[in-house]
Subunit: 102 residues, 4 copies
């Protein structure tokens, strides 16, 4: 099992043990990713990056983890291969922003 | 190199080839994760999950990829181990929500 | 008719002429406020306030207007008095953050 | 003084009494609008509109108020006339979405 597959398995075990998959429709998972991204951003409100990292580094790591956890859940539920969608998006971005034109 | 390390390497190559790392302070990366999460959510605006997936499945995959790409960038810049922060957050959630108490 | 009532009337006329009220359930209006807030924030991505205002001031005004329009719609649909909820929230904040304790 | 001018005056009094205007640069105010919009949306996470209103109606009103308060602050700081930007956006939307073409 790959590293990402192992993470998805752990995440799915967590929600299955609590019978939470019934709530996890894709629309509410997309809402959840957005809410966790805001909780991450809240650590930087009224602060520059340096100060935010000085006082909030632990919560910053936790909120990035929450964004990743919900994103991996949604990939799992939509049968999306994480490595594949990232590689395809990078390829698309490479065509959209050719090197040397920045 | 692990699967996640290889993805981070590809992402870092992409931004280094364009000399974009100068813009990527953690505060603006957190803003970017939030913006991409909103672009993902926009696919579900005024629609239930079924209709959204029927008409927007390609863009949904791309926007999840964008959320993941910026999240992996931020992990790279903050020297956070992706697997470790996810496992620690799952462990914390396990203690917060004990099985059988839902 | 008060100034705010006149704005809400104009907003409701706009959506009624297009028969859009059928889509405007509170959950999707809350999603829409969040999406418009992100479009506002996008004007500040990778920029400090000064540069953002220099290059994006027109779009900034339009996106603030969109946030306000959807917020007034939601107030209208939930029978919330705009002035009253703002005054009550300021009163609550005044108690939460007493002057001289900052 | 108009209704909206009176609200903006109350909001500005609140922040001036606490000497908070020093933190209120436009970029962080845009972040704050986005964070409050997410706190509003959180009331609808895992719920349909009816259930959300049944259990969270008080917090929903407070979070809409917070979105409006930060939006009015930003209008005040950028010297934007609230009624004017809303009327201009409605006019633009009217041209973009002609009646009868929906």
């Amino acid at each position: 099992m790959s590293e990402i597959e192992a993470l998805i398995k752990a995440i799915n075990n967590f929600r299955d043990e609590r019978n939470w998959r019934q709530y996890h429709n894709p629309k509410d998972l997309a809402i959840s990713i957005s809410l966790e991204a805001s909780e991450l951003l809240e650590n930087f409100q009224w602060k520059n990056s340096e100060l935010a990292l000085e006082v909030n580094s632990e919560n910053i790591a936790e909120e990035i983890a929450d964004v990743l956890i919900y994103s991996l859940m949604l990939c799992s539920d939509l049968d999306l291969d994480v490595t594949q969608i990232i590689e395809e998006k990078l390829k698309k971005n490479t065509q959209k922003y050719p090197v040397g034109n920045e």
